[in-house]
Structure formats: structure tokens, C-alpha cells
């Protein structure tokens, strides 16, 4: 009996060994382990075995079966792997062929810069607000401490529609609208389009964009202004950026300043980009003039604040090294696709 089982096993293993396809392995399975297979036949012949030997023989049969199954399973796995690999070998592609792109469109560089600025200030608790492009003289000038005969009001800079209605020359007008709402404290930025009577050339445009910032609260200091704008500059231009505040004059802030940042091309060493100065002028700012607060119904004895104004195009031109402002309004797809 034992010999017979050994023989079956040896023959089965030989057949497995010599199989070169999955079908053949399956045949082996059927021939030896199937209902009509040889091992099954052996089991069927158990009735001829003496009862006391039956458990022993049963165990032997099972052992033989397990061994065949194990070897069979191994071979199947091996063969499947070989088949899969052969298939994949045929499926090799040229990965350097061109991509199938969705041709996604591109944002305008101004908008990219704007969203950056918005992101930074929203993170600092500022609300984004908007004001009208066509504006009353009062909001653009008078309420900002620029009375009727101030040189800044000169007609050659401002587009007028009527004596009293104009195209805003600065987003600072939005400050006034926000203050008039009477809700304090204020932390806002106001991006928008502004207009100045400048002929179109590489560095001028009669229409461009500014972002105005305004903070009004109790105990706001010039030091807060410095800290906030330094934080802003680092976020926008990189951690290494240093800032410099220079005294300046704006009618609606006092004290006033202009902020320079270290050139983000050379890091402040001086290069062609910053005309050797190492610094680039980036924005104007200052403490809100008490008269401006008074005009908008805020008590300057209780509240102080700071304001700033950034030229959006200036940032976009600097950040992306665009050398001609006209490109921003031509909408040539070859330009826009670079951002």
C-alpha cells in the first residue's frame, strides 16, 4: 500500500514538474486529486484494508494528498507569475512620448499676487472688502485729508466724470466707507482697480490695481504697523526678507512711511534688478491721521490705527520679472500661460 502511494506521489510530482502550462497542471489535479483521481481510488479501496490498519493508511493517503496539493499550488503560482511577466514584457511603452494634457488655463499674474496677499492677511484676521471704482470726490480726496485745493487733486492726475464724481485714484477711498460703517475694530484689506491719467507705456498704465489695508482699534501703534508689514513681507517674499521703513508723507497718515524690502534677487547685496541698491520700494503706509478718523466719526482719543497701500502690478512685475506693464493688459496667451 505504502509503496503504491509512494509511486503515485512520485508520478504526480513528475507530471507537475514536466507541466509547461496552467491547463496541464489542472489535468494533474484532476487525474490525481479529482473525484475519479488515483488517490480517490486508493481511498475507495480502503474497505480492503484491515480495520486496525485503516487509520494508518488513511493518514498516509492524506499525507500524500497534501504533498501533491502543496507542490501543485506552488507550481501554479510560479506559472501564473511567469505568464503575467511575459504579458507585461510585451506591454512596454515609451514613457518619453508626449503627455495627454487637459490644457488647464492660467490665472493672471495680478490675480496670483492678489490671492497671495489676501491669503496672508486673511490669516492675520483681516476681512477683504470692496469699494466702487467710480467714486465721489469726498471719499477719494476730502475725507482723506486732501481738501479742495490740494496739489494731489490736480486734474492732470485724476479722471473726472463730473465735478463731484471721478474714477478713484486710490483704494484708500474704501477706508472711509469702512470707517463710516461704525463697526470697530477694523481689520480690512481692500483690493481694487484705480485710475490715473498716465499715458500707456512700459512702466505706466491709466488703470492699475492697489490693495489698501486698514487696522483701527484701541492702542494700535506705529510699532504694530512695522510688525504687521514686516510679517507680510516675509510671507510674500520669503523668510530671509528684511524691511526698512523710511519717513514719507501722505495726507491721510501721520506719521507716514514707505517700506522697502531687501531685493529678492540678490538678497540685498545690490544687483541690476534693484539698480545696485539692494532695496526695493514696495508700499506706502502710516498711522491714520486723526483728522481722517474724526471726519469718519471715530474718536482719535480712543482709537488709533494704521493704513497701507500696495501696488498690485508692482508686486507682480517684481515677482515675475515682467519688464513691460503693457503685457498685463494685452492678454496674449503666450504671456498668460507662463503663470
Amino acid at each position: 500500500m505504502k509503496e503504491k502511494l509512494e509511486q503515485i506521489k512520485a508520478e504526480a510530482l513528475r507530471q507537475i514538474e514536466s507541466s509547461d502550462a496552467l491547463e496541464k497542471l489542472n489535468e494533474v489535479r484532476v487525474n490525481y486529486l479529482g473525484k475519479k483521481g488515483e488517490l480517490t481510488a486508493v481511498l475507495k479501496g480502503m474497505k480492503d484494508v484491515a480495520p486496525e490498519d485503516r487509520p494508518k493508511v488513511g493518514q498516509l493517503v492524506n499525507e500524500t494528498r497534501e504533498e501533491i496539493e502543496r507542490v501543485l499550488e506552488e507550481s501554479v503560482k510560479k506559472m501564473e507569475k511567469a505568464v503575467r511577466e511575459a504579458k507585461m514584457k510585451k506591454e512596454v511603452i515609451d514613457v518619453t512620448l508626449p503627455a495627454k494634457k487637459n490644457n488647464v488655463g492660467h490665472r493672471h499674474p495680478n490675480t496670483i499676487a492678489l490671492e497671495e496677499v489676501e491669503r496672508i492677511f486673511i490669516g492675520m484676521g483681516y476681512e477683504v472688502v470692496e469699494g466702487p471704482d467710480v467714486e465721489k470726490d469726498y471719499y477719494n480726496f476730502e475725507a482723506l485729508n486732501i481738501p479742495a485745493d490740494h496739489p494731489a487733486k490736480d486734474e492732470q492726475d485724476t479722471f473726472y466724470i463730473t465735478g463731484d464724481i471721478l474714477l478713484r485714484t486710490q483704494t484708500s477711498s474704501t477706508q472711509v466707507h469702512e470707517m463710516e460703517k461704525g463697526k470697530l475694530p477694523i481689520r480690512m484689506i481692500a483690493p481694487g482697480r484705480v485710475f490715473r491719467s498716465d499715458e500707456v507705456d512700459a512702466t505706466h498704465s491709466p488703470s492699475f490695481h492697489q490693495i489698501e489695508g486698514l487696522v483701527i482699534d484701541k492702542n494700535i501703534t506705529f510699532a504694530d504697523l512695522k510688525g504687521t508689514l514686516e510679517e507680510f513681507a516675509r510671507e510674500l517674499f520669503g523668510e530671509e526678507t528684511r524691511v526698512k521703513f523710511r519717513p514719507h508723507h501722505f495726507p491721510f497718515t501721520e506719521p507716514s512711511a514707505e517700506m522697502d524690502v531687501t531685493c529678492f534677487k540678490c538678497g540685498g547685496k545690490g544687483c541690476r534688478f534693484c539698480k545696485g541698491e539692494g532695496w526695493i520700494e514696495i508700499l506706502g503706509c502710516g498711522m491714520v491721521h486723526p483728522h481722517v478718523l474724526e471726519m469718519s466719526g471715530i474718536d482719535p482719543e480712543k482709537y488709533t490705527g494704521f493704513a497701507f497701500g500696495v501696488g498690485l502690478e508692482r508686486i507682480a512685475l517684481l515677482k515675475y520679472e515682467i519688464d513691460d506693464m503693457r503685457l498685463l493688459y494685452e492678454n496674449d496667451i503666450r504671456f498668460l500661460k507662463q503663470f
Partner: protein, 806 residues
């Protein structure tokens, strides 16, 4: 404003710093230095040489050979200059030295020109004699220099001395950008005062004393000011026995460095005082002043006056004039008249130093079309106190130069002059505003330097009248900040009540619009808000189209920028055309920008500004590509109901058979279509183009970011296809409306899967096929449910004259 550092140092004698240190420190204390130019840039090894002997060049007619004594030795120099003679003292650049430019006075090369010993036509030459142009300057600045040829020194200069120094070129000219509030800094004295305070060095004002003769000015001139409002102060002095001649070299050099051409002693003195004190002056020939009387009054409408540049100027009653007893002799603060100007024969001069209303001068300068150095200063509103000092300074210089005799006394017509501003001294409030802890002593030290007087008894500060910018405590705080140092102020972040950063809903929706447009391949453009009124014709708008009612800019840059746009299409079409004409294939652009709709014209209140989401494209695309973009957008902003597309949009600029107005829940939210071929022609585009415009204020009320999960269907769907023959004029939208309306609760979806016109379909009809999906949320549908729903739909369709094919 340009000024030589040597002039500043005349009032701040202890000032010692490099040019760069000066620039940086001044800029940080508020006097912005734009840049500086060293006058001796590229001038190396240049000494005074004396020509001892001149001989002809053996081989060249136009050259001469000079033996030049340069102090330690005599060198030979060959030159072609026509103007030198033996004994002349000239600037000589030695072998290996440098000059700044060529003799033609053209642009100066960045690194100058190196001069080396060599041979000229075979004769050795060991240096070069220089013209003023080669020294980097010009005859405008050095009027004594010859028109052609070598600069010749006066006889008393020492041979071998530094020629650059002798010419006053060992100096640096700084260019300042003075802010409009600091009228006092439009003067050398003003800037010197700032420099003294910045470097904490003593400030020494020039001492002004006038001797005067034994006569009285009142015997020479009387002054009457008829409009005190426009002329707060008028000072007049008289100088007689005037001898016109050149002014001293030092004065010429200072003026030249400031960019002012020296002319003669009288003109130079008035210009010098204007630079020094910031007070413009005028000199009249007293013999031309009728009645020896000055009257300051407004001009009459329609008057014409000839200014001393020979131009006729039209006047009106807003323009202030200086007149004598009979006639007008000058436009106040702007320019004197041809009829009273100083000539070389002048013997008696009337000096005027006045102050005028700044705003009036600015307007007048614009009215008469003449902006001068003087008007540029007056329009800022000068300090009347300064006029007296300036006129006396001019008289002092006349006496010092010995070019005239000053008549004693000054005619001074003035009303109440502005008093000094007095503010209480509140050190704590300055520190509170600045976020600093500057000591009281430090503050007082700063005030002292800028001549703000501290009155201990009343603990107050008296501000000098020349500081017209200091009116309130915040102005004082700025002075503290400037001289304490902006850079020393700490950096902190605001404390106090926390606020939430927010992007308002409108801007969030616009952000979504950008995202969707970009996912769909559109890039963002930006267009001007103003355009030409011709745009309306280009877009084929009817003569009475309301869009033609546009806001006109009163002072536009030109017709092309003269109206505020009422439609956004022109910007888009112009941009598409730009791309088309630059041969860019496949272009998709979008723009988010306002249009401006007046409520009434002329404007009495602010117009309505409506944000337009405008899309445009050409290339591999069609009407339905555009429609798809819009529907993606609607879907993304929560507009999940079906938009209605009405083909009767009536838009002239679009293809009549390929346009639609878009309605959402009955509201017109925008339109789309193919651009009318004639409009394409008008924009020079020889391609089909498609546009869409969404009126964002109309879209906004329907937009929402709220979403609700509805569950994923658990029960199977039943699909039914219907195929029909439809009269051509019935649009798919109608069929869909019937399906939607009659499909009942179990209708889940319907999709057009085929549309066909042609051979097998009879004339005037099209074949249309839909796949309809039914599903119930709570059970598996019975055949009867679906059959009932289908029957309703089919009945509806048949009622429209549609034949069913299966």
C-alpha cells in the same frame, strides 16, 4: 532738487561723512536722497599746466606742439585746439590719467576715458589739455569756457595745482525728493537744517546784514496790494547804480551744481537766494515801472500779457497780476513781463519778494499754460516770514559783490501773518502712538535741533513758522520718530479684540468662476474699464440700444479711453483678435471685470458697477463647448436646477441662429453665442469665435455653497429609450421639458443620445433619441410604474406633433 554737498556744508561746517552715509542717513530721517553724482567722477591726474612754448607740428597743419609746465617738469603735448596761446594756464591730464568725456560734450562713458602718452603724427605727446566738456561739464555751467577748445584758467592759479579742485569739481551733487508737505525743504537752508539734525551737528545760518545808503526806499517805490487774500505779503527793496557783470565763481559753481545756468550777477543773485531760502524773487528795471508804484490786483477777463519769454498769455480774473501805475508788469508768482525785464543797461533795480496763495498760483499757472521754478515753489504756499530774510539776503549780496548800492529800508505790505503754532508737550502720547519709550530728554533734544522751542513754564512747544506741516500732536510724534529713528522703533503685532479673516461671498464665487474657467482651459485676461465710443458700432448695437448710454470721462487720455464700458465684450474680442493676429492657435480667455451702468446721464449719483464673467474662445470648440463651461460653473456654485436657454436673445453682435439668453429660475443671468461674422470682421478675426457673459449680480442670489447628501440609490434603475421624428423647429429643450414634467417622481435622469437630420428622415423633420432612467428610492420598480410614466411622456410628446419610432 539738486544741491552740491559743499553748499550744505557751508551751513553745517562740522558735517563729515561719506556720500553713501549721507544719502542713507538723510533718507532714513525723511529727506529722501534719490541719488548722487560725484562731479570728479573719472577725473584723474589732472593738474594746472602753463603753456610755455607753442610750435607748429611738422607734419600736420591743424596740430600744434606745446611745451607745458606742470610744476615739477615741462612736458610736451600735441593738440588740435585752436584757442591756446603761450602763457595760458590750462587743465592738463597726465599720462595714465582719466577724463570724463569727449570734447563734443556727448553722453559720458561710464568708465571715463584713459589718456596715455603716445605719438600724434609722429610727434610724442605726453598728456592732454582739457576742454570743459572733457571734464564732464558744459559751457552752460561754466560760461567763461570757450565755445571750442581748451578751458583757460585765470592768471592767478598756481601751476601744478589740482585743476579739478580749482574748478570746484571736488564735490558731490545730491538729488533730493522733497515731499509736498515740507515746503521749507525746497531750499538749501531747509535741507541743511535737516542734515544738521540728522547728524546732530551745529547748524549755522548765514548772517544777513544790509548796510544800505542814506536814502529811503519809500522815495523810490510805493506798493498797494488790492487782493490780500491772494497776496499775504509783498516786500520790495531798491538797488541803484547797478553794474551788470559775472557773479563770483563760487556762486556760479553752486548754481551750476543745482542745474541753474549762471547768467550775470543780478540774475544769479535772485536765483541763488531762491535756492538758498526757497523764496522766489523777481527783479524789475525800476525805470520801466510807471509812477514808481506797484499795484497787486487780479487781471481782467480777456486781458493778454506778454511774459519775458516773449509769449502772449491770455488772462482772466482769477489770475493775480503785478502792475505799475499804468500797466501790468508781471504775472504774480509765475513770470515777469517783457515790458519790465532787466537788460544790461539797467541802473536801478526793484527787488520783489512776496508770498502768494498757493492754490491760486497753481491754478493760474495751468490757466496761462506756464509753470516755472518760481510758480512751482509758490504753489506749495510759502512762509511769509521767509520773504523778508530772502530780500535782505539778496541786498546783502549786492553790497558784498559791489555791484550796486542798496537803498535803505523795505516796503512791506502785509496783513496779519500767521502766528507760530503752539502745542502742549505730551511725551506719553507720542510714545503711545509710536509704541516706543523715548525719554523726555531725548525728545527735547530733537526739538532743539529742528528749532521747535520748548516753553517750560507752560510745558508747551512753539513750532517755527517755516514748519507749516506741524499742526497737531501726531505731527510732533512724527518728528520724534524721524530723529529717534524709524529703524529703532520696535516691531510688534496688534493686540486687542480678535477678528476673523474673511473673504466675502461675492469674492468666493468669483474665485470659483476663475477655478472653473481655468479647469476648462481658459486663461485670465484683464481689460481696461474705459474704451472708445466706436465700440458700439463695432458690436452692431442699434442706435437706441440702452448700452450706448455710457458714462463719459471729462478729461480722458483720448477718444479710445473716453467712456466707461457698458458691455464687456469689446475687451474680450480685442484680446481674442490680438491673439488671432499673432497666430496663436486655440485661444480661451476669461475676464472678471466691471461694467458701469449710469442711472441717469449726466451722472448725478454713482453708477451701478456690475461684475461680468466674460468668456471667449476660438479654435477647436463650438457653442456647446461654451455651454458646457457655464453648466460646470453653475453646478459648482450650487445652481443645480436646469437653466433655460432662450434662442430669441436678440443680440446683434451674435450669430442670429447661434445665440441664447440664459435664464435661471426665470431670471436672466447671462448669454452666450457665436460671434456674428460681421463683428469678427470688425475685429479682424477670420475665424469663428464663441463668447459667453454671465452677469454676476444676477447669478449671485442663486449661488450657494450648501450641499446636502441625498443617499446613493439602493434599488435598481429601469432604462427606457425613445426614438422620435420631430418637426425641425421643436428644440430639444422643449422635449426635455415634457419629459421632466411628465416623468413623475420616479424619473431620475434623461440623456439625449442621438440627433440626426438627413436621408432617411423626411424634409422638415429630425430624428431625436433619448435614454430615460427611472428609479424609486424606496423599492424596486414594477413594470407597471414605468409603463405608466412612459405613457404620460409619450402622450405629451405626441401632443406636440412628434412621431414616435418605437
Amino acid at each position: 532738487m539738486n544741491t552740491a554737498l559743499s553748499w550744505i556744508k557751508a551751513y553745517v561746517p562740522d558735517l563729515e561723512c561719506t556720500d553713501q552715509e549721507y544719502m542713507d542717513a538723510m533718507t532714513l530721517s525723511g529727506t529722501k536722497v534719490e541719488g548722487y553724482t560725484r562731479l570728479d567722477k573719472n577725473l584723474e591726474k589732472i593738474v594746472v599746466g602753463q603753456i610755455e612754448k607753442i610750435e607748429k607740428h611738422p607734419d600736420a597743419d591743424k596740430l600744434i606742439v606745446c611745451q607745458v609746465n606742470i610744476g615739477e617738469e615741462v612736458i610736451q603735448i600735441v593738440t588740435g585746439a585752436p584757442n591756446v596761446k603761450e602763457g595760458d594756464k590750462v587743465p592738463v591730464v597726465l599720462d595714465g590719467g582719466k577724463v570724463a568725456g569727449g570734447h563734443d560734450g556727448g553722453p559720458l562713458p561710464e568708465d571715463g576715458i584713459v589718456i596715455k602718452a603716445g605719438k600724434l603724427r609722429g610727434v610724442p605727446s605726453n598728456g592732454m589739455m582739457c576742454s570743459i566738456e572733457e571734464l564732464g561739464s558744459s559751457r552752460d555751467m561754466y560760461p567763461e569756457a570757450p565755445e571750442m577748445g581748451i578751458y583757460i584758467f585765470e592768471d592767478d592759479v598756481p601751476v601744478g595745482a589740482d585743476a579739478v579742485e580749482l574748478l570746484g569739481l571736488r564735490d558731490t551733487v545730491f538729488e533730493y525728493e522733497v515731499t509736498s508737505n515740507r515746503v521749507d525743504c525746497y531750499s538749501v537752508i531747509g535741507i541743511a537744517r535737516e542734515a544738521a539734525a540728522t547728524f546732530r551737528k551745529p547748524f549755522v545760518l548765514p548772517e544777513v546784514t544790509v548796510k544800505g545808503n542814506s536814502e529811503k526806499v519809500e522815495d523810490y517805490i510805493s506798493v498797494e496790494v488790492l487782493d490780500r487774500e491772494l497776496c499775504p505779503r509783498y516786500c520790495a527793496r531798491v538797488c541803484k547804480n547797478i553794474k551788470i557783470g559775472p557773479s563770483p565763481k563760487w556762486m556760479q559753481r553752486r548754481l551750476a551744481a543745482s542745474g541753474i545756468r549762471p547768467i550775470n550777477n543780478l540774475v544769479d543773485i535772485t536765483n541763488y537766494v531762491m535756492e538758498e531760502y526757497g523764496q522766489p524773487m523777481h527783479a524789475y528795471d525800476l525805470n520801466t515801472i510807471a509812477g514808481h508804484k506797484i499795484i497787486v490786483r487780479r487781471a481782467k477777463d480777456g486781458d493778454v500779457f506778454q511774459t519775458l519769454d516773449g509769449q502772449d498769455r491770455a488772462l482772466d480774473s482769477e489770475v493775480l497780476m503785478i502792475c505799475d501805475a499804468e500797466k501790468e508788469v508781471g504775472i504774480a508768482g509765475i513770470m515777469g513781463g517783457e515790458n519790465s525785464k532787466i537788460t544790461d543797461d539797467v541802473t536801478t533795480v526793484l527787488f520783489e519778494a512776496a508770498t502768494f496763495n498757493g492754490a491760486n498760483i497753481r491754478k493760474s499757472a495751468k490757466r496761462v499754460g506756464l509753470r516755472t521754478d518760481a510758480s512751482g515753489k509758490f504753489e506749495k504756499g510759502l512762509d511769509p516770514h521767509n520773504a523778508e530774510a530772502a530780500i535782505n539776503r539778496a541786498c546783502q549780496l549786492i553790497e558784498e559783490f559791489g555791484c550796486g548800492e542798496v537803498v535803505s529800508g523795505m516796503v512791506d505790505v502785509r496783513g496779519e501773518l500767521k502766528e507760530e503754532v503752539v502745542l502742549s508737550f505730551e511725551p506719553d502720547s507720542y510714545n503711545k502712538l509710536l509704541g516706543t519709550q523715548v525719554s523726555k530728554e531725548e525728545m527735547l533734544a530733537i526739538f532743539k535741533m529742528i528749532e521747535v522751542e520748548y516753553i517750560e513754564a507752560s510745558n508747551s512747544l512753539k513750532v517755527p513758522t517755516f514748519r507749516q506741516d506741524i499742526l497737531r500732536q501726531c505731527d510732533i510724534a512724527e518728528e520724534v520718530a524721524r530723529f529717534y529713528g524709524y529703524d529703532k522703533i520696535p516691531t510688534t503685532l496688534p493686540t486687542g479684540e480678535a477678528t476673523t479673516g474673511k473673504l466675502p461671498f461675492k469674492l468666493r464665487i468669483e474665485q470659483k468662476a476663475r477655478d472653473i474657467a481655468e479647469y476648462c482651459g481658459f486663461s485670465q485676461g484683464m481689460c481696461y474699464s474705459f474704451e472708445s465710443p466706436k465700440v458700439f458700432d463695432k458690436l452692431l448695437l442699434d442706435a437706441d440700444d440702452p448700452a450706448r448710454k455710457a458714462i463719459t470721462i471729462a478729461n480722458p487720455l483720448g477718444e479710445d479711453f473716453s467712456i466707461m464700458r457698458t458691455v464687456s465684450l469689446n475687451g474680450m474680442l480685442t484680446s481674442l483678435a490680438t491673439n488671432y493676429n499673432r497666430r496663436n492657435k486655440e485661444v480661451r480667455l476669461y475676464e472678471l471685470g466691471n461694467i458701469y451702468l449710469p442711472k441717469a446721464l449726466p451722472l448725478t449719483e454713482l453708477p451701478e458697477e456690475r461684475m461680468q464673467f466674460t468668456l471667449g474662445m476660438y479654435g477647436d470648440c463650438d457653442f456647446f463647448t461654451m455651454k458646457g463651461v457655464l453648466e460646470e460653473f453653475f453646478d459648482c456654485i450650487g445652481m443645480r436646477k436646469k437653466a433655460i436657454y432662450d434662442p430669441n436673445a436678440g443680440r446683434n453682435y451674435l450669430h442670429p441662429g447661434r445665440q441664447a439668453n440664459i435664464f435661471y429660475e426665470g431670471t436672466l443671468v447671462g448669454y452666450l453665442g457665436e460671434v456674428h461674422p460681421e463683428v469678427c470682421d470688425n475685429y479682424d478675426m477670420k475665424t469663428r469665435a464663441y463668447v459667453a457673459v454671465l452677469d454676476m449680480p444676477a447669478v449671485l442670489p442663486f449661488a450657494t455653497f450648501d450641499r446636502k447628501y441625498e443617499g446613493i440609490a439602493k434599488y435598481p434603475a429601469v432604462l427606457r429609450d425613445i426614438s422620435m421624428v420631430v418637426p425641425k423647429e421643436i428644440m430639444a429643450g422643449k422635449i426635455e421639458a415634457v419629459i421632466a414634467q411628465r416623468g413623475g417622481k420616479i424619473l431620475e435622469d434623461y440623456q439625449l443620445f442621438d440627433i440626426y437630420e438627413g436621408d432617411q428622415i423626411k424634409e422638415g423633420y429630425k430624428s431625436v433619441a433619448y435614454s430615460i432612467t427611472f428609479r424609486a428610492k424606496d423599492r424596486t420598480l414594477e413594470e407597471a410604474d414605468v409603463t405608466a410614466a412612459m405613457k404620460k411622456i409619450l402622450n405629451g410628446l405626441e401632443g406636440m406633433g412628434i412621431e414616435l419610432r418605437s
